[in-house]
């Protein structure tokens, strides 16, 4: 059988998503993979991901021997477009699909590829990430969780925090200190594909700003894992972690496809500005709010234009790496501002929160705004992002 062309695949995907995007389940679904706080949300999204995968619209570009579709990136992109068009819910297993998966595909051993990749795609195995520690958030290179070698095993002791879906995860990509005496802090780190459901590893849910759950703190007390869990070689943890961040920030490809967050839709906010009433008139009739609306529209459009411009070599010759490096900062900050703006549009109704029948859109906007901080803080805070851009693009001297 010959492979479908991208056009054929796109047509089939369009038909499939038009029929298979699930109905509103009657409870609020998460907007991002970091907001899966209830079992019913988890179960619903896990079913959805499995269904998308089984239909062939996830991991389409991954090799067939590891459960993928063996097609091209263009095929997968076409499927993702169809998923977006019909407003499919987010895919659950974000860390597996986007970070751990491509990492294993690129540098994992044959055994690791065979063991993990297919179950990442089907959401059978949920993955989480162990980077940040309670005492070391932005200063990732200073991670202190100990991994001491004892024969064919490593013994883990310490704690990780902001473990997204930590309570559901079967595996963790883990950055740990294998050599406290190394010549510098980076050289003492190693990277593991660690099991989570073993003696000595315990998770504790963290209640977020929104009042919901989604993260855990993860405690390691003499947890023993096999030395086979190492990836990238002992002492190379920092290099592997940096590579993982490139997958996370989209600077390096290989992700399984789909999307794991739904950004605020500007058109919905325009609609809100037309329907929300302030002093008896539409919010949009307020010239100050209207002016801000135009500003946000321009800024949002600049982001999507920048996304295209980054591939146009003649237009990025001055600083070729700039647009990819600034996109996380821009998206996260703009989404935060935009959802805060939605609250301003609501006027007095901004007083309500999720669960209140008098609220606008079930409290959706308030939750969006509070959740927006997960992106301005997670994955490197906006302040760290500005350091990175200042240093790596503008060549400014290091802060510290």
């Amino acid at each position: 059988m010959t492979d479908p062309t991208v056009e054929e695949f796109a047509r089939d995907a369009d038909a499939w998503f038009s029929e298979n995007v699930p109905e509103d389940p009657g409870f609020m679904l998460p907007l991002t993979f970091m907001e899966v706080g209830e079992d019913r949300q988890f179960d619903f999204l896990r079913d959805w991901q499995r269904k998308v995968y089984e239909a062939g619209y996830l991991g389409a570009a991954w090799p067939t021997e590891y459960g993928g579709g063996g097609l091209s990136e263009a095929h997968q992109k076409a499927a993702t477009r169809a998923m977006r068009k019909y407003r499919g819910p987010i895919l659950l297993n974000a860390i597996g699909l986007n970070w751990a998966g491509p990492l294993i595909l690129d540098i994992g051993s044959e055994e690791q590829k065979s063991a993990y990749l297919k179950d990442i795609l089907s959401a059978e195995d949920i993955w989480c990430q162990g980077f940040s520690e309670p005492e070391h958030g932005s200063d990732l290179g200073n991670a202190q969780l100990k991994a001491e070698r004892e024969g064919d095993e490593f013994v883990l002791n310490g704690s990780k925090i902001w473990t997204t879906q930590g309570n559901y995860a079967k595996y963790m990509i883990l950055l740990a200190r294998t050599n406290p005496a190394a010549e510098n802090k980076y050289a003492g780190l190693s990277f593991f594909l660690s099991p989570m459901k073993i003696p000595g590893i315990r998770t504790q849910k963290i209640k977020k700003l929104t009042g919901e759950f989604g993260f855990t703190q993860t405690f390691f007390e003499d947890a023993r894992i096999s030395a086979d869990c190492l990836i990238g070689g002992e002492g190379n943890g920092w290099k592997v972690a940096m590579r993982t961040l490139e997958y996370e920030r989209g600077a390096r490809g290989g992700q399984a496809g789909g999307y794991v967050s739904i950004p605020p839709d500007l058109m919905e906010i325009v609609e809100l500005a037309k329907t929300a009433k302030r002093d008896g008139a539409a919010a949009m009739d307020d010239p100050v709010l209207k002016d801000r609306m135009v500003d946000y529209l321009m800024d949002m459009h600049a982001l999507s234009l920048g996304n295209e411009r980054k591939r146009m070599m003649p237009l990025v010759e001055d600083y070729p790496n700039a647009l990819p490096l600034i996109s996380k900062l821009e998206f996260s900050e703009l989404y935060r501002e935009l959802s805060e703006f939605a609250l301003t549009l609501l006027g007095p109704k901004a007083a309500y929160y999720v669960g209140e029948e008098n609220s606008a859109d079930g409290g959706w906007w308030a939750r969006s705004y509070l959740n927006a901080f997960s992106a301005t803080i997670g994955g490197g805070t906006s302040q760290i992002q500005r350091n990175i851009i200042g240093e790596h693009v503008l060549g400014l001297p290091k802060t510290r």
């Binding site: 500007l266 058109m267 919905e268 325009v270 609609e271 500005a273 037309k274 949009m284 209207k290 002016d291 609306m293 135009v294 500003d295 529209l297 321009m298 800024d299 459009h301 600049a302 982001l303 234009l305 920048g306 295209e308 411009r309 146009m312 003649p314 237009l315 001055d318 700039a322 647009l323 600034i326 900062l329 821009e330 302040q383 500005r386 350091n387 851009i389 200042g390 693009v393 503008l394 060549g395 400014l396 001297p397 290091k398 802060t399 510290r400």
Partner: protein, 373 residues
Amino acid sequence: MTDISASLGQLGISEEQVDLLHVATEFCRDKSPVEDVRKLIETDRGYDEKVWSEIAELGWLGIAVPEEFGGSGLGVGEIVPIAEQMGRALMATPFIPATVAGQLLAKAGTERQKEEVLPALAAGERFATTAFGEPGDDMAALGENEAGGFLVSGTTRLVEYAADADLIILAFSHGGSRQLALVERSALPGEALRREAIIDDTRRAYELRLDTFEVAGDAVLDPDKVEEALAHADMVGALLYAADMVGGTFRVVDYTADYLRTRKQFEKVIGSFQALKHPLVDAFIGHERARSHLYAAAHSFGDQGRGEVAVRMAKAQGEKAYAYAADRAIQFHGGFGFTYDCDAGLHRRRAIWNATRYGDARAQKRRLAELLF
């Protein structure tokens, strides 16, 4: 739900734009080092005639002039890389008003005017500027003669490079409508032009005062095409000034980054301080956004509806980016920033001038809201 996205500018780049971008980058850097910019500030003319004739020889004044009148017949969007690189180099030239005047004549000139004048404008043998008038200006016809000519009196301000232009395309009111006429600068009475003190020392502008000045009938542009041509000129001017601002933003961010990489205080290179580093990054991001809008406007310029939205966004974003970057540049240069010797001031002043031309951000956004919401 209305889908606004269909009305927004789309990005693309042509081979001509790429070539012009590369040539213009080098040319403007070589021909307009900042020492030369500062020397020209001291002159009345305000620009270098030799460089101006080289610009003409490169064919840059005829890029969007139809081929039948000696131009290259390309789109207005192809001019953008040139204006952008001129902005980067703070280059002093009448390039923008000369280009707008050429477009105006191509749109509203009579066949005879186009045949007689456009080839010379496209070749840069002569140059024309525009006298559109600012709000409050009162240039008006007193009456029309049998040959279709007018006697014109009144004042028009901020006429760019009028004293050195060969021709001025003069706008004046007549009854309830606007008219345009092609006026030889040499025919103006001696006292008609007065150089105005403007905020941007790298440019020149003049007040034009006329008293019963005779405009011949064959100098009047096609009255039926005036409004359409003025609307077009408005877009061309806004686009090119947006390009100048994007270029200027790039340069002033670069200039400031350079200072932050070398200047030491408290035994530290000051660029390591986040209070300086982070706002400079924001200024840089402002540039990236404005540049994306600029090239979308260049690409979409000729598209019905979408072109206008894209140009207005580019102009508004360009102003926002340039104003912020240059403002912070003055501050971050400390005491030096407060002196005339610091280039940050040249940029800030140019940014204000550019903002005022063809509608500032406030005006653009008000119009955008009407177009989109």
